[in-house]
């Protein structure tokens, strides 16, 4: 079983097409929508978690790209500037995915990018602006 989190950017012409439905039918994938947004310029942004057979996620990605969807892995989207982070812990209380948590021993804030769903709550909450969106 493979699990992948992807950030999909849909051009205007694709916004009204049932692309995600096809991922399920063609590639036998389960999906979880983490974020969905249509921009003022009528482009679509979807953050999806896909799970299915190992090869299927890769094939699904290729299919999306062939349609003209811009595909990015999610883990690259939020980054922490280690030189700014003071390990205060404010972000930990707000992270809905448990990607930011405090290490019991060192009391340092650990950031697990794989669990991050890019909700961006930490970005505004970080008092020293250490969390940044990587576009």
């Amino acid at each position: 079983m493979a699990r992948k989190r992807l950030v999909l950017k849909f051009p205007q012409r694709l916004v009204e097409q049932p692309v995600v439905c096809r991922l399920v039918k063609k590639f036998d994938l389960e999906f979880n929508i983490l974020k969905a947004h249509v921009t003022p310029r009528q482009e679509g942004l979807l953050v999806l978690e896909l799970s299915g057979e190992n090869g299927s996620c890769v094939d699904a990605e290729e299919y999306l790209k062939s349609l003209g969807v811009v595909v990015q892995p999610l883990s690259k989207d939020i980054v922490r500037d280690e030189s700014r982070c003071t390990h205060c812990g404010v972000c930990v209380g707000l992270c809905p995915a448990g990607a930011l948590r405090i290490d019991e021993e060192s009391r340092r804030v650990l950031f697990n990018e794989e669990d991050c769903i890019a909700c961006e709550l930490c970005i505004g909450a970080c008092p020293v602006r250490a969390m940044q969106l990587n576009l």
Binding site: T86, C91, V92, G93, R107
Partner: protein, 403 residues
């Protein structure tokens, strides 16, 4: 036989002083007992690194040619207003000052991305700052405008002077309303969505000397990465707060006003900070050494997180409206576990004050003392304790009569 600071300093000079942090003393007392620990240990170092709004710095920029009198004029540092109500070239910049054109909370919650706290961090870090000033001009100070780059190297004095730091035992903040609120304790989610606390707990300076027996005016310490001193009690100092049997106040109590040479400090330990919807502040690193003069003082420093508790306060209604009721207490051990129970509900907790950085401060101060680079100072006057009867008063508004 009680020790004196003089004797301890002698041992420090000879590099024979036994120095431990406020965490290490807990284990030593557990292992050997108070009496043996008090005999063996000379100094316990404490530390904290948290946002402290009543902070700022004053400087003397030196005279221009021809001279300008900034006092009574208007001065901005990187567009942040500084206070110019002193002599010709003396200025003070406060941590929470923000530029005139900062949108504040017009589009709520405001970002407050740059202000006094950031100016101080930039200055300490050696960066160039734009100073712009207008003055009304006098015969002896004829100049009316000044626009120049300054850096900390160019300044005569650059002094960190914080009217209120190291609040003894701050609140735990929660939100009982049904909307998110933005406070100096961070963003608080509705319906007890989260609980934020701000203290270094068992490492915290004033929780290790709760009655201010050793910390007084003139106490030398680690401040902002350099050396600082206690200048006075801090504003809102409230020693008469109810205390637990171990002497630790149950609610916010003592505070200290701190002073030190900014030129010896570091941008790692004076960090400009932004709280969305609230404003700008400065995160300050403070570490105070406690001389172990007798068993009583030793006992106070061995206090641990499970023996320290803070009050849970609703910041949606009770706090803004000065309603004294609280939702109970939680210990720092419970807070650090990640969850506490409030009104029967399990609430996620988060700190605002960095515990790993507090550890680093206590450890750094320990090194300074062990190497003989840092002597303890004898306070020249005490900070008022509970016996003084000093109480923090609210504002009593009185109408202003029209003439």
């Amino acid at each position: 036989m009680p020790k004196t600071i003089s004797e301890i300093n002698e041992r420090i000079r000879k590099r024979q002083a036994v120095v431990v942090t406020a965490e290490e003393i807990i284990d030593i007392v557990d292992e050997k007992g108070i009496d043996a620990a008090a005999k063996e240990v000379d100094v316990v170092t404490t530390g904290t690194f948290g946002p402290m709004c009543s902070s700022g710095a004053y400087f003397n920029i030196g005279h221009s040619k021809p001279r300008i009198k900034l006092g009574g004029g208007h001065v901005r540092l990187n567009a942040v207003p500084a206070y110019a109500g002193f002599a010709a070239v003396d200025l003070y910049v406060g941590a929470t000052a923000i530029p005139d054109d900062d949108p504040r909370n017009k589009v709520f919650p405001g970002e407050f991305s740059y202000g006094g706290g950031h100016v101080i961090q930039d200055l300490v870090g050696g960066k160039d700052i734009v100073l712009e000033a207008t003055a009304y001009g006098t015969d002896c100070y004829p100049r009316k405008r000044l626009r120049t780059l300054i850096s900390i190297r160019d300044l005569n004095e650059a002094v960190l002077f914080n009217p209120r730091n190291v609040y003894q035992n701050y609140n735990i903040a929660v939100n009982l309303s049904d909307k998110v609120i933005y406070t100096y304790m961070g963003a608080l989610k509705p319906n007890l969505g989260n609980a934020n606390y701000c203290s270094a707990g068992q490492l915290s300076p004033l929780l290790n000397d709760p009655h201010y027996k050793t910390i007084g005016i003139g106490t030398r310490m680690f401040l902002g990465g350099g050396v600082g001193y206690v200048a006075w009690q801090g504003t809102q100092h409230n020693p008469t707060v109810k205390r637990k049997p171990n002497g630790v106040p149950e609610a916010p109590a003592g505070t200290l006003a701190l002073i030190g040479d900014l030129k010896g400090m570091s941008p790692d330990w004076l960090v400009g900070t932004s709280f969305r919807g609230y404003g700008v502040t400065l995160t300050v690193g403070v570490g105070i050494p406690i001389p172990i003069l007798d068993e009583t003082i030793c006992k106070f420093t061995s206090v641990r997180d499970e023996e320290l508790s803070a009050k849970i306060v609703d910041y949606s209604n009770a706090y803004p409206n000065c309603i004294p009721e609280t939702l109970g207490e939680a210990t720092y051990k419970q807070l650090k576990s990640g969850k506490i129970t409030v009104n029967g509900k399990e609430v996620t907790t988060a700190p605002l004050s960095s515990y790993p950085r507090a550890r680093e401060i206590a450890s750094t101060l320990k090194d300074w003392i062990r190497k003989g680079d840092f002597l303890l100072s004898e306070p020249v006057a005490p900070i008022p304790g509970a016996e003084s009867g000093l109480t923090f008063k609210p504002l009593k508004e009185r109408p202003v009569e029209e003439q």
